[in-house]
């Protein structure tokens, strides 16, 4: 399809849906609040709106359509279709309807909390955050509230690591903290000596992922936690990469005070083009009073909402992103303890198998010769030096074969990076095919670098010139801006 922008499909007078007549006298508005001219929204019949968006959907990939192992750290696993069918059952529930009329959904919240508490070893879990980053921010807010409650409001530094998600640094910064970032040591692990140097009376918390996006499990993680504890700081675990360690090791076991899961990564809720997602903040006993409120309690006869004593308050509308709470609950209930462990083991097996395949491709490497858990940040450095083709370009060419990969977050500490995380959802044949595609493209890069640099050849659109997007005179973040700058 060569699908126009929807405004180009508009014809005056057409309508996609009808609205009921008021059935009551019309309200006349004063000029001060009345809209002066009608908005230039597109006008299309219903079939044409539908056709447009269906065609656009066909110009998108997703877990269901491709071998989606290339979005490392994002844990693109299968979201069971059956769990989507439950959405209709909650569609018309209002978050402020009386609790006695919402016992089913509250039971799901409560049980999911208990299950995630067991999986992480934490005492309680808030399911309110709207995403992983929102959970990180909520954790930081609890850290601040905790220190303030203890008269330690002066703690103004947060320590994180380069291979943790940028939101750990960015959220803490937004909350007013100074950020100290630990760089990897020669082993690819966060440098414990750097941590030793960083901790002190100003330390509010350590925000750390393990395994980090390299896929390497930090065996000294308990020491990291202890170091932070030794100066009165809190240790906060970004469990974005938990998929490979479910049932194997738990946040509490390493001494963490709090942490979060991404339900849309580890617990299978669909990624939805980038949300809605859901985050879950788990805390140890001492942080319970600070949890976002309300939380769901069982009072012996039914589920009730209570707000912890020193709660950081409500952080979003409703109790959480209920559609994803329901899906995550259903997913765990379809697997159980043994199933979760099989998930973890198979994800790790898949990752190591894929690594075995990728490392057979000349020019590909996985910096640091270590075991990997859930994912690997690879490098095309050797290939790139040989051919001049960059990792981004190889990724674009791979898209011609119906797959793709994500390089990594900036900055590229691993040069020419690409990050693969196969999860438990893909078959051996999928992994073989994926590796074969990358091997093919690497070979092309060697034989004809210009060809690879010219990709894509088999995509919805051709090579995009991104430069206007950074030029205020040319950028067009809406159609009206585009019309103004480029069409008039």
């Amino acid at each position: 399809w060569d699908e126009p922008i929807i405004f180009e499909l508009s014809q005056p007078g057409r309508r996609g849906i009808a609205v009921p007549e008021p059935g009551a006298p019309k309200v006349e508005l004063p000029d001060s609040v009345r809209r002066a001219s009608k908005p230039a929204l597109p006008e299309l019949s219903q079939l044409h709106v539908l056709r447009h968006y269906l065609r656009l959907s066909q110009e998108n990939l997703g877990v269901d359509l491709n071998i989606d192992v290339g979005q490392g750290t994002c844990t693109m696993k299968y979201s069971p279709k059956v769990n989507d069918t439950f959405m209709a059952d909650i569609a018309d529930l209002h978050p402020e309807q009386p609790v006695e009329s919402a016992q089913g959904v509250l039971e799901i919240y409560h049980t999911l909390e208990r299950m995630l508490a067991e999986i992480s070893g934490m005492a309680r879990v808030s399911l309110q955050p709207g995403s992983g980053s929102a959970a990180i921010y909520a954790n930081i807010a609890m850290i601040r509230a905790y220190h303030e409650a203890n008269g330690e409001g002066h703690r103004d530094q947060v320590i994180t690591t380069m291979f943790s998600h940028p939101s750990n640094a960015a959220c803490a910064k937004t909350a007013g903290y100074e950020i100290i970032t630990l760089m990897p040591d020669a082993e690819g692990l966060p440098d414990i000596e750097a941590l030793r140097a960083a901790v002190g009376p100003r330390t509010a918390a350590l925000m750390i992922t393990n395994p980090e996006d390299t896929g390497i499990f930090n065996p000294r993680i308990a020491e990291f936690v202890e170091l932070v504890h030794s100066v009165g700081g809190l240790a906060c675990y970004d469990q974005a990469n938990a998929n490979g360690i479910l049932g194997i090791t738990r946040a509490a076991d390493a001494g963490f005070d709090l942490g979060h899961f991404n339900l849309h990564k580890t617990f299978s809720t669909p990624h939805a083009c980038g949300g809605p997602a859901a985050g879950a903040c788990g805390v140890s006993e001492k942080l319970i009073p600070f949890l976002p409120g309300p939380v769901v309690d069982f009072d012996g006869s039914g589920y009730v909402l209570t707000t912890p004593e020193k709660s950081i308050g409500k952080i979003r509308p409703g109790l959480g992103v209920t559609p994803n709470i329901v899906r995550a609950y259903a997913w765990i209930m379809s697997l159980g303890a043994e199933g979760l462990r099989t998930v973890a083991e198979t994800a790790v097996l898949n990752n190591n198998y894929l690594m075995h395949k990728i490392l057979q491709i000349p020019g590909a490497s996985a910096p640091w010769d270590k075991r990997r858990v859930e994912q690997v940040r690879y490098s095309w450095q050797e290939l790139s030096e040989e051919t001049g083709v960059h990792s981004e370009e190889i990724g674009v060419r791979a898209a011609d074969f119906g797959v793709h990969y994500w390089t990594s977050h900036h900055p590229y500490v691993v040069p020419e990076p690409f990050t693969l995380e196969p999860t438990e959802s893909y078959s051996k044949e999928d992994l073989d095919e994926y590796a074969a595609i990358l091997a093919h493209v690497a070979d092309e890069a060697r034989r004809d670098p210009a060809f690879v640099k010219g990709a894509p050849y088999n995509s919805t659109v051709h090579k995009i010139d991104m430069t206007p997007l950074d030029d205020p005179k040319q950028w067009a973040p809406t159609w009206r801006a585009y019309v103004r700058k480029h069409l008039s």
Binding site: I5, G16, I17, V19, P20, P22, G23, L29, V33, R35, H52, R55, L56, S57, G62, P80, V82, D84, F86, M87, I90, L93, H94, Q97, S101, Q103, G104, V105, M115, G130, G132, P166, A169, A172, T174, C273, G274, G313, R316, P317, G318, V321, P323, A330, L335, A337, H356, R371, H409, H410, E424, S425, H462, K463, I464, D465, L469, P477, W479, A481
Partner: protein
Amino acid sequence: MTHPYIPNAEPGVRARMLAEIGVDSVEEFYADIPAGLRLARPLDLPAPFTAEQDLVRHMRGLFAKNVEALSFLGHGTYPHYVPAVCDEVNTRSEFLTAYAGEPYEDHGRFQSLFEYVSQMGELLEMDVVNVPTYDGYQAAGTAIRMACRYTGRGKVLVTSAINRDKLSKLRDFLSHDTEIELAPVKDNGEFGDVEIDDSYAAIYLETPNLYGVVETRGRELAELAHAHGALLVVGTDPISLGVLAPPAAYGADIACGDIQSLGMHQSYGGGHAGYIATQDHEPLVAEFPSRLFGIAPTAVEGEYGFGDVYYDRTSFAHREEGKEWVGTAAALWGITAGVYLALMGPEGMRELGETILARTRYAMDALGSIVKHAGAIHFREFAIEVPDAAGLLAGLRERGIFGGVQLDERTVLVCVTERHSIADIDRLAAAIKEIL
């Protein structure tokens, strides 16, 4: 049986893969995890429903414990009608299960979101709209922070006709470095008379406000803010903009709010997404933390490509040096809102607004003297004052009605949308009359 979600758990495949890697067991991959950190027992979880049909039966049993009723609950989550086409599009596997592909393989996502922001731009008469953030709470918090960064100031005057939960969020999000001052509410329910000085970053107004009151002094407040080098930030529900003037029309610098009304189900709070909009003024655009998608040319003349506008602002590009943070938020609801607006078109939005205005007024008239702020223009919500709010709501519940959200001991917020028929409203009025 191999679990349907885990193909390589099949023992034969597993053994072949292990052999190819050259290790004996999966255990070896975990060798880096010290014994002291290992969980020595199975997780203590409920027995699973492995058969899909058993899971479904269990879930339906839980859902049967929820009760629906004729509901006049609003207060930030609204029972607007969701067109079937919205659900059709947002349940498409291609959209539902995609994430963060590049503009080549995920062209559809980029274009759909570009069309969403573009339609919002028309509705708001603003040139820059973000790819959605989590919800209207976050949108308000970030919009105010943008104003603070832009002005370099740390104080903001906030309407007190605001959802208490949203205010809680603003406090959590802002208060460590931003002073929140609450503006009074006038007797008619509108934003009170206020003064500001040059230390204020912004005035934050909502319209319709907590009480459903449409604020009439937007221009005056914009002028007040601008006179002191501050910005006017306006929170508004875009569903009202078929009939109400957009904030830009009376001088607002930033508009923000929630788009749940535009095609999302209530879903017990799961349908929210936040928008933030400004004019195309580079220093203000620089303050957006969210992604902004824009058109870019391709190697083929006339073809539309898409990409990130001004990516350098973001935490993806510069970690803590970016503006706030960006991550997964609520993109699918943006796509859905785009579908909604395309279905409605300008006339649909106007008619919808007129229907809501008329039915709201009808309900206020039907409820009579208990209605507060009866003289103001209301859109979709209004407050009633009764001797015992909890008692009234309990009585209504017995009659199969969720009568509204209790704001305090004597005040109930009643919500009327296009989904409430005149008969529904009459039923509410009759029930209230019976109880009082």
